[in-house]
Each structure stands twice: as C-alpha cells, then as structure tokens.
C-alpha cells in the first residue's frame, strides 16, 4: 500500500527529471527548476517535454499559480488560503516538490501542535545519557528545511495556537532558530521558505495576528463555480485516483455532471438556472468531496453492484458523505430531492428514486 501514498516528487519523478534536463532558464538560488518550469509542472503542458508528458496537477487559474511561484522566488513565505477542499495542500505539495525536490518537510497544524514541532525537540534518552548534544537534538521539519535551503510546509496554520503562530513569526522574521541549550543558532540557507495553508472556514478559531499575516504573501485559492470546469477537475482526479489505487469503476459522463450539479447547487443555495432556492448543508461540499464521492461510487458499484456505476451508487456515496455532518444535512438533501431532483429527467430519474430509497 505504501507506494500509493508516494509524495509528488517520487510519483512524478520522471516529469520532474525531464523538466530539469530541458530547463535552461535562470533558476533562483537552490531551485531545482526555473519558475517557468515549475509553472509548467503544475499546470501541465500540451506537448511532451523531453519525451515525457507533463500532466496538469492543478486545474484553475494560471495567474494564481504564477503569483505563488513569484512569491517563493523572491524568498517570501507563501500563504495559500481558501475554503476546504480547494487543493491548497495539493498545490503546496506540488510546488515544494518541484522547487526543492521534497514535499515531506511538513508540519501538520492542529490544536496540539507545539513550538517544538516548529523548532526542535530532544531525544530524551540521549539527552539524559549525554546531556544536550547535536546528536540528541531532534530538528523539526522547519529546522531541517532551513539547514538544507528547502521549503517547509505548515499545514492548517489557522488551527494552531497563538504561541505556535508567534514562534512562526520569529522564524520568518529572523530566518534562524536559536538553540540555547547548545549555545548555537541554526540559520536558514538560501532557498529556505515556507508554504502555509489556511482554511478560511476556520476563521475565528485562531484568527492569525496581523504580525503573522505581514510575513506572508497571500494567494486565495478559489472554489470552482463554473460547472464544466469543476466537472473536468472531478473527472480527471477521479480517474487518477482509480488508476493509483487500482479499484473502482469509471462513472458515466452524465452521472458525473449530475453529481457536480448537485454539489454546486447545494453549495450556492440555488439551482443553476437561479429559479429555485435550496437550503445549504452545514458540511463542506468541496471539489475534493465531489471527487471522493465519485470515486466511492465506483468502489460501491464494483463491490456491491453490477460493476457499472449507476444512480444508486452515486446516491449512496452522496448520502454517506452528507451523513457525516448529521441528520440536518440529510434533511437538506431530502428537500433538494423533492424540490429539484424530482422535477428533472434523464439520469436524475434513477438518481432520485435511488436516493429516496437510501434515505428512507
């Protein structure tokens, strides 16, 4: 199973190697690729490069990706902010893989994240046996990134405590971490930078301080509201997941369209034609969630159905996803079925019937 979770730099090693081999543009210090080549890696290329097809990783606004790259090229820290499931972590992973060859120097932000996770900790057995020493020091991913001149990723920064955020401020402004126990200071090598992600739904949990915000350039990753665009994303990502995991079944086009329509309508609170209002659920109906529902329907079809993805499978996967937030969201779905889905023809008919049954 472990190869399924390969980090981007390994999974796309061939693409990165081909880009590196053909890249003759100027590279910022320590960068593995030029900014242009990083952009090509993230956005994909219509023509193979060095004989290797470069697949698109992020589907969306090229300008946004350019701003992110330009930020890192001027060794400024980058903040990717946005709604859940908009590919913030995904972008962060691919950017660091392409720029410095590793996406693994990552700190996951949670309420329990402590300063040690950003700076360093100790191997207590060694610490007791030998006293403070270089050997006993356990550097954080950030400290390792500093030493190697690479990019550290700090995920979900809004979930961390104010103390941790303050620690990050000093790291970003001084570009060094003091280790008083060893009477030494680790300074960042050129090439060091940080990509943080922040979930805008978390606002208010730990609203970032102005001082912290000042240390970052902000790129807002948008929710996709164009139907065809989101269908394309969901289709392609689902197909990739299916091939990575070697499970599931390909969903027919009209069901994908149906599912993404449901997501967009529930998300925006109105039908696409703007004529009917619908209630919005509490749960997050992100693109990522749509991908996973579609992928799950394939697995359901394969394991419990006749192998072909039908309205039943999509309905089941969808109810499963919405049930996470509790009965209220299921009520929202029920209402949607009666007021919207019921009135539509084509694939909606089977979907409506199946969903009604699943909900009963």
């Amino acid at each position: 199973m472990s190869e399924l979770r390969l980090p981007a730099e390994l999974k796309f090693a061939a693409e990165l190697a081909a880009l590196e081999a053909t890249d003759d543009a100027l590279r910022p210090p320590q960068w593995r690729l030029s900014p242009k080549a990083v952009e090509t890696y993230v956005m994909g290329s219509a023509r193979p490069i060095g004989g290797v097809a470069i697949t698109p990783k992020y589907y969306g606004d090229r300008a946004l990706v350019q701003v992110a790259i330009a930020t890192l090229a001027s060794d400024r820290a980058l903040m990717l902010a946005g709604e859940p499931g908009t590919a913030k972590s995904w972008l962060s992973e691919h950017l660091s893989a392409a720029i410095c060859g590793t996406s693994l120097l990552t700190v996951q932000g949670t309420a329990g994240t402590s300063e040690d996770h950003l700076k360093y900790g100790w191997n207590y057995a060694l610490l007791i046996a030998e006293g403070p020493s270089e050997r006993a020091l356990v550097p954080s991913p950030v400290m390792r990134a500093m030493r190697q001149g690479k990019i550290a990723r700090v995920e979900e920064i809004t979930r961390t405590s104010p103390e941790v955020q303050d620690a990050l401020i000093s790291i970003l402004s001084e570009k060094q971490i003091a280790v008083p126990e060893l009477n030494e200071t680790v300074s960042a090598q050129r090439g060091f930078s940080i990509i943080a992600t922040a979930n805008t739904r978390d606002r208010g949990v730990n609203e970032m301080s102005a001082a912290l915000k000042r240390r970052f350039n902000f790129v807002t990753v948008p929710v996709v509201d164009d139907l065809d665009q989101e269908i394309r994303i969901v289709q392609q990502r689902e197909a990739q997941l299916r091939s990575d995991y070697q499970v599931g079944a390909p969903p027919p086009e009209d069901l994908t369209r149906l599912l993404v329509t449901v997501f967009q309508e529930l998300r925006s609170g109105a039908t696409k034609d703007g004529k009917t209002k619908v209630r919005t659920p509490n749960g997050v109906l992100s693109t990522a969630e749509a991908i996973s529902v579609l992928f799950n329907s394939g697995i359901l079809a394969q394991s419990f159905g006749d192998g072909a993805v039908g309205g039943v499978d999509v309905a089941r996967a969808l109810t499963g996803a919405l049930a996470k937030e509790g009965a209220d969201d299921l009520k929202v779905l029920r209402e949607y079925l009666e007021t919207v889905a019921k009135t539509r023809g084509g694939a909606w008919k089977a979907f409506y019937a199946a969903a009604k049954q699943t909900l009963a």
């Binding site: 900014p35 242009k36 952009e39 300008a63 350019q66 701003v67 790259i69 330009a70 930020t71 090229a73 001027s74 400024r76 903040m79 902010a81 102005a210 915000k213 000042r214 970052f216 350039n217 902000f218 790129v219 807002t220 009666e338």
Partner: protein, 774 residues
C-alpha cells in the same frame, strides 16, 4: 494612391496609447513637419485652437451632435497621452499647421445611424450613446482575443501592454511593429466597406495637401494603425458612395477618466487612464509608475485605517516585477500590479483591489477647457448654478442634501429640478427621508404629489461627459433652463392621455416655475379628467390636486389658481368615486388597481374638507356589502369603514358573519378576509369581536371546504406579522380558555388531520405554516 503618398511620414497609432504618443513626439521632433494631419472629423478644424490651447487640460473630447432634432451624438475623446492630442500640441508649440482629415462628423453619425438600423442589438447603444463612433476593430473582438491567447495572455489589453506599452521602442521600430500588428488584426480581405471608405477619404486628404504645395517629406499623418496599413498596401478604392452627411454642430467638452476607462473596446481601449498618464509622464516607465501607484494606494489604505508598512509596498513592487518577469514582460502592467497588490497589501482579498486599486488606476480626473473655448448659454447657466450653489463637479456620485426652508438651498432645488425636467443627466433625486435610512418611500418621486410638502431633499449628484452632451444638445429647446423646461413640459402635455399624466406635469411645472406649462397642464387636466375612466389615474390625479391645494399656498403662482384647482379636485374625486364599484368587479388580480385607488381616495376623503365625506362612506358601505363584487375589495372597504369608525363593533361583527358565513364558497370568504387584513391587521386583530367571528368561521368549515379555501386563507394570513399573531393567539386563549393551542390548531386545521396529511407536499407545507401561525 500609394504612389501619390510617397515620402509622407505615415505614423500608425492606437488611440490613447502613451507609447504611441511618446514615439510620435520623437518622430515629430526629428522630422519637424510643416503640416500635421490627424485622424479626426474634418469639420472640427475650427476647434483645433481650443483643443491645443495651453490652458486646455485633457481629458477633453470633440462632441458632435445632430441639429435636426433627432438625439444622436458622438464624441472623440483625448487624454493627455493620446497621440492625436500630442500631435496637436506639438504643432501648436512649433508653429506647424494641424488639420483633421477623417470624414466629417455628419458622415460619421450617418454611418453610425445606418449601422444601428441594420444591427438591431446595437440600436440602443448607438442612438444616444456618446462614444467615438464604433471602431471597426470592435466588430471582430474574437480576432483580438485570439491574438492575446496565442501568446498565452488572458485578454487583449494584457497583450497590448506587454507588446506595445512596456517595451522600449524607437519611432521607426514602433511604426514597423504597429504595421505588422495591423496586418494581422485588420488584413485587407477583412476590411469592411466603411473603413475602406475612410481609408480613401484620408488618403485623398493627404494627396490634396501635397497637391496644394506642401512637400510630402514635410507632412506627418497620424492615423489608426489599420488605416495606415491600408494606405501602405494601396487597397483598391471602394465602390460604395460616401454616406449623406447629417446636419451636426461641434463643440469641445470636458471629458473624464472614469468615462475613458469605460471605452475599453479593442479600438480605443484604456482601462487605467491615471496609471497610463503616470507612465507617460515618466517616459513610459511602467515599473516606476507601478511604484508610484503602490505608494499612493498604501496611503489610501492607511487613510482607511488599515496598517500598511513600507515593507509591504516594497514587497508588492518586487512581486509585480517578478510576475512580469515570469510572464516574459519587460515591466508590470495593470494585471501584475493588481495581482501583486492582492497577494501582499490586500492579504489575498479581492475586494480592496476591485474597490480601491482599480478606481485609483482609473483616476478621477475631469478635463478643463481653456478660456478660448466658447460656451453656449446653457453651459454658462449650468456653470453659474454649480458655483452659486456649491454643487460638486466630479465624475463620481456624491450626495447633496437641501433644506428647502433656506432660500439659497431652495434655489438649488429649483436648479436641480430644472436640470431633471430638461433631461440633463447630472442630479438624481434620492428621497426626502434621511439618507441613512435610504429607504425611499415608493411614492416619493422627484416630481411626485409629495414634492410640495417636502422640507428636505436628497440628491445624488454626478457630473459626467453626458452632462456636457446634454447641455450642448438642449440649446435647441431654449437659451435658458426655464425656457427648456417650458418646452419639454409642453411636449409632455401634448402626449398626456390620462388625467394623472396631466397632473404630474402640473407638479413639475410648479417645481420648475414654468408658468405657461402650468396653465396648459391645468387645461389638460380639466379636459382629461372629464373623460378618463381609469380609477387609478383618477385617484392619482385627485391626490396630486389635493396636494396642490394643501401646499400650494406658499407658492404665489398657485394662489391665483386655487379656485380652479379645488373645482378640479372635487370633479376628479367624484368621477373616481362613481367609477370605483365598477372597477371592483372581476377577479382578485383585476381588483388590485381598484383597491389601491380605493385607499388613495379614502385618505383624501378623510383629509380634504372640500370633499364629500358622507357620499364616500356610503360608497364604501355599498362595496363592503355587495356580494356581486370581488370579495377582497369588499374586505378592504369593510376594514376602512371600521377604522374610520363608520362601523361600530356590532355592525362589523354582523358584516363579518354575513361575509364569512359563506361556508359553501369559503374561498370568497377567505378573499374577503385577505382584503380585510390588508388594511391594518393589527388594529383589527386587537378587537376580540373580530377574532371571535373569525374563529367561528374557521371552525364551521368542513375538511373539504377548508381544503378548497386553503390557498386563499394562506394569502390572507400571510400578511400577519409577529405582533398580529400574538394578538390573535391571545384572543383565542381568551375565547377558548387554556385549551387554546388545541383549539387553535383545530381552528385552522379543522377536524380531519388525517385527510389533510394526504394532500401532498405543497398543501402539507401550507398546513405547517398555518400551524406555526397559531
């Protein structure tokens, strides 16, 4: 043709391109021509001294408008960095002669009008739109977008900035680049007939200048790139004839940057005039202009209370330059500037960019005309009015509050009402209530019946080039605004077909002090009110006349005609009253007009001593009791009678019982109820007698009848707010004791819950609502 133009310096431009202006000036300095020929209407030559005067400050425009009574105009705007403007300035500074060589404005307008006719979706735009005649380029926007996309850019403006504005050029290299560009965007095979005609007109004009003795080497001709390309190619002369010129008059008028930024078609695109001006002044150094903009923007943000550090500004500047570099551009343009600012100073938010940065890049500049520019009498009167009343003259909406007790401010009100009636777009009436609430009452119109009783007026004032256009055009109606208003009100009287149309003009005539129109409007009102059958129109006319009678005493013009107004009021009211029962026939929808007329007339009957209150109440009584009329209307009449204390409680209960007793046709009873509640549900539901009658009615209904009446009942109860519901419930408790909630449900849901729950979702929903209600 190409032969005859040999030796002439043909210089291709794009309108409002700083780079073109800069290169053109360099070329002019090098060639030092005796004659500068410029694309622009040839009948505007007389305006050249005004356009190029030292004290004329762009943005300005040549305005051409029709003088045959049809409203149509066009403008040729110039920014400081428009190559045409710099050509004029250069000629002025160096004693060279300048001349416009495009076809005359009358032909441009004729071509516009013809195009509008064949191209119906353009009709609206071209009829009264004050833009440079539509550039042929705008006809093929796809070609321009394709060009941008070919270079991986998002839109044409970005392409233009990247390829023409930001890179460095010598005049010769710029000319070659633009010629190549024109070959791509406007190839010979796609040349439309109109553009080809203008190619010929301008080519001929250049040839004529040579023929009359100026050496070709001493001529610089400044033309749009597509025209230059056509002349260089020597396109064959077009077959079609020139259009017949419409009669026009021309003037130079001030223009504004906000307007210029709206002209961002492909032909004359200019989305950020102030930014371009900054760049132009620094020799088209867009990087430097970006820094200036960022510093100013940071200042704006600070003034709004945001914390912005110098480090942020520097980072934004660095990021903009890095972005430009990544995109292979030589300097940041509007796009890089916006994106870099969003990522830094705006912390990822798009709103500050949209709301503060883009307006800043556009700028607020308004042009000024030099002393030599002649002004027509309306333009002068307008300028005097603005100065006398201290009104703002910026191209951005600003609210002005006038207290009419103050004589100067009353003067300002007269001035603004005259502009309004003269249809000069400058001030729009916002309302008489506090600006903060912004909630303008539905009937609080600039020239509405309430106009005479106002103590305060709020206006939203915004000068725009359209104001100047109107000032120039309206002169055909009169030399003074007072005169223009008289003429326009007379026109309105001529087209009035209802009494209300005529009385509306009466108010405007009073507001603008238009004595002749007042007399004529009075005649028209008298004539129309005796033949008008429309109760809405009659009731509105009566309301307006009543307002004139009540509030006219302070206006000398009105005291003389007070008698006439009163006679007219009584006549109009009486006619409306007589027509009212007839209008209350038909269905609920049809009676809507009658109901609103009824309420208007009722207010008048109560407030205006001149009117016959007794007959009015009798009319209402008849309507309330007449089963042959639409039931909602009867309900409204009953409620009005009760509130006017014309019915006592016992009478009302009797009436209600009679009207609600119709359990066989419960929908009619429910309509009656709906009308009844529409008037003042709160006062009505405070009365226990009324609630008792209601409760009895609902309890008496069978399940089947209840179901039939449900839609109408929902409509009736829908108007009730929280406090009405509270009273209703309190009375029900009083009537039925502690078991009220149970009774309440019963009242509404009748007995048969089971039967009702089968009625399907829509009905179930309605039932829930009614359950909530009680």
């Amino acid at each position: 043709m190409a032969v005859s133009l040999a030796g002439v310096h043909l210089f291709p431009v794009r309108h409002h391109s700083p780079r073109a202006a800069l290169c053109l000036r360099a070329l002019l300095d090098e060639v030092r021509p005796a004659l500068v020929l410029i694309e622009g209407p040839s009948d505007a030559d007389a305006l050249i001294p005004i356009l190029s005067a030292d004290d004329t400050k762009p943005p300005i425009a040549i305005l051409a408008y029709r003088t045959d009574g049809t409203p149509q105009s066009a403008m040729w705007p110039f920014a400081r960095y428009s190559p045409e403007f710099q050509a004029l300035r250069w000629a002025h500074e160096h004693g060279a002669q300048a001349r416009f060589i495009d076809w005359p404005s009358g032909m441009a307008l004729a071509a516009d009008a013809a195009r509008a006719q064949t191209d119906s979706h353009r009709a609206a735009a071209a009829s009264d739109e004050d833009t440079r005649p539509i550039a042929p380029e705008d006809a093929a926007p796809d070609r321009y977008r394709a060009l941008a996309e070919r270079f991986g850019l998002r839109h044409f403006d970005e392409f233009w900035d990247a390829f023409f504005e930001t890179p460095c050029y010598q005049p010769a290299s710029f000319r070659d680049a633009l010629n190549a560009y024109a070959e791509w965007t406007a190839p010979a095979i796609e040349r439309d007939a109109e553009s080809a005609l203008r190619d010929r007109v301008m080519g001929d004009a250049i040839a004529a200048a040579i023929a009359s003795g100026t050496a070709p080497q001493r001529i610089v001709a400044v033309l749009g790139a597509a025209h230059v390309a056509a002349l260089l190619r020597g396109d064959p002369a077009p077959q079609s004839a020139l259009p017949d010129a419409l009669p026009t008059a021309l003037a130079v008028v001030p223009y504004s940057y906000p307007r210029l930024s709206e002209q961002s078609g492909y032909g004359a695109g200019n989305r950020a005039p102030w930014f371009y001006e900054r760049a132009y002044e620094g020799g088209n150094d867009f990087a430097h202009a970006s820094l200036l903009v960022l510093i100013e923007f940071a200042g704006n943000l600070r003034a709004r209370g945001f914390s912005v550090s110098l480090a942020d500004v520097i980072e934004a500047y660095r990021l903009a330059r890095t972005l430009a570099e990544i995109r292979g551009k030589s300097a940041p343009g509007v796009d890089e500037l916006s994106e870099a600012t969003q990522a830094t100073l705006a912390r990822g938010e798009a709103a500050p960019i949209r709301e503060f940065l883009l307006p800043l890049l556009i700028g607020r500049r308004i042009g000024q005309l030099g002393a030599s520019a002649g002004r027509n009498s309306l333009q002068l009167e307008f300028a005097q009015g603005i100065a006398a009343y201290g009104l703002p003259q910026i191209d951005e909406p600003e609210t002005v509050t006038l207290r009419l007790a103050d004589s100067t401010q009353a003067g300002a009100s007269l001035f603004l009402h005259r502009l309004r009636v003269a249809d000069v777009p400058f001030a729009s009436y916002v309302g008489s209530q506090s600006v903060l609430t912004r909630g303008r009452a539905e009937d609080d119109e600039a020239g509405g019946y309430g106009a005479l009783s106002r103590v305060r007026e709020h206006w939203e004032v915004q000068w725009s080039p359209a104001t100047e256009v109107a000032l120039a055009e309206r002169v055909i109606y009169g030399e003074r605004f007072a005169e223009v208003c008289e003429r326009r009100l007379n026109e309105a009287i001529g087209t009035a077909s209802l009494a209300a149309d005529a009385t509306r003009v009466l108010i405007d005539a009073v507001l603008t002090d238009a004595a002749q129109a007042l007399a004529r409007a009075l005649d028209a009102a008298e004539r129309l009110s005796s033949i008008d059958d429309d109760v809405v129109s009659l009731s509105q006319a009566a309301r307006t006349l009543s307002a004139l009678k009540s509030y006219g005493s302070s206006r000398p013009t009105l005291t003389q005609i007070a008698g006439t107004i009163e006679r007219l009021l009584v006549g109009t009211f009486t006619r409306a009253m007589l027509r009212l029962p007839i209008a209350c026939r038909g269905d609920v929808e049809a009676s809507g007009d009658a109901r609103s007329a009824m309420r208007t007339l009722h207010e008048l009957a109560l407030s205006q001593p001149a009117l016959d209150r007794g007959t009015w109440m009798q009319t209402l009584t008849d309507i309330a009791g007449d089963e042959g009329l639409e039931a909602t209307a009867s309900g409204v009449a009953a409620a009005l009678l009760y509130l006017a204390r014309e019915l006592d409680e016992a009478d009302l209960r009797g009436l209600l019982e009679r009207r609600l007793g119709d359990v066989i046709r419960p929908a009619r009873a429910a309509d009656f109820l709906a009308g009844f509640f529409q008037v003042n549900a709160l006062v009505l539901l405070k009365n226990r007698e009324i609630v008792a009658a209601l409760s009895e009615f609902l309890q008496a209904l069978s399940a089947q009848h209840f179901r039939d009446a449900l839609p109408a009942l929902r409509r009736a109860f829908a108007v009730l707010g929280a406090s009405e519901r509270r009273f209703l419930l309190e009375h029900l408790v009083g009537l039925h004791g502690r078991a009220a909630p149970a009774v309440a449900t019963q009242v509404v849901a009748a007995a048969d819950q089971q039967a009702l729950s089968d009625l399907g979702a829509a009905l179930g929903q309605a039932l829930d609502d009614l359950g909530d209600l009680l």
